[in-house]
Point group: C2
Chain length 197, copies 2
Amino acid sequence: MRPYDERLDHLLAQAARVFAERGYHSTTMRDLAAASGMSLAGMYYYTRGKEELLYLIQERCFTRVLEGARGALADRDDAPERLQAFIRHHVTFFAHHMAEMKVLSHEANVLTGDLKRRVNAIKRRYVDLLEGLLKDAAPEERPVDRSAAAYALFGMMNWIYNWYDPAGEIDPQRLADLIARIFVGGFADARSTVQGG
Amino acid sequence: MRPYDERLDHLLAQAARVFAERGYHSTTMRDLAAASGMSLAGMYYYTRGKEELLYLIQERCFTRVLEGARGALADRDDAPERLQAFIRHHVTFFAHHMAEMKVLSHEANVLTGDLKRRVNAIKRRYVDLLEGLLKDAAPEERPVDRSAAAYALFGMMNWIYNWYDPAGEIDPQRLADLIARIFVGGFADARSTVQGG
DNA sequence: CATGGATTCGAACGAGCGTTCGAAAGTTGA
DNA sequence: TCAACTTTCGAACGCTCGTTCGAATCCATG
């Protein structure tokens, strides 16, 4: 790997950490310079500016989640099992990359213009992937309710950054199981009872 | 109601709307002046500054949710029914006060010092209320898992601001039902299956 | 050692921010 | 009509921000 790429990766990693801690808008380029060990002006050799820094963090992280999810589904056929695998992957990935995933979740809608469009394109593919799984698991469900259920699930999973401590009493695997079972069990229950209402 | 209080309420309502739209940090006092029809300096007759504006929005909104939840539970005894009532109240309140609730959810951790402490005191009481309901509904559950389940539920409910359109195909009542059934059904399921793992 | 591109950075710029101040205008009660 | 108080606001201040620029330094190659 070229030294240039290593330096950029280091900058992005530190930026993600500080963005996650302080929030994007409260973080100054001077904060990032201090955290990365570069000078203020030095960072501009690696990026066009603060917004591109956020874009690169989000784009790289989202791409990894999407590809990871596809990998987790690759060798499974059973619909409910695929749904569970998706949830387990998302939650454990989140727990192992808290900073980047927090920046992805909490700083959505900060990017503008083309950068926003590019990240949203990946997000669309990721949401479509989950909605496809829900369709396979519950083909008779109304599409609108399936969509709402998908967002409810993303809510459970992405809210993690507000409270979860990966080093605490609940390890990532157990959290993933808990969330997967709440949703899979509850989604089945919701189908059988809400349907007529 | 004194004209002063009416003007302050108006300012807070407009501020909540703009904070929800643009985010707290991207909103300038000049934006709020334009939205509220006051002059820039005029707003400082009603508030000590931008941070107090955010505090008042959060404190008032949180107090209303907490009291509303207590009211929704007042005439119920059955534990699962109380849990459902809490969820239904939270979701419908959220749907009917999207701006304030988005500011409450998304701009948590923006306040500092005493203002942060005061809002967190209300939040603590609200979280305790839900954890109490979960304890009554599932007394045999490990406290740690109950806590995680509570946050998973808050995630489902609070994530709403990222996607839900109260004027769209799903009315607030139906969304509340969907989320309540996903959680109540899934929580029961999670208890019976996760327990031994 | 000399060369030229890659990399670093001190210093400064211009813009926008939250806030302040003192005066002006409006309102009330006698 | 006057005085006291409440409410409004134009103008400006001081500060911090993201970004830029040109020079300095590093480093692989001949």
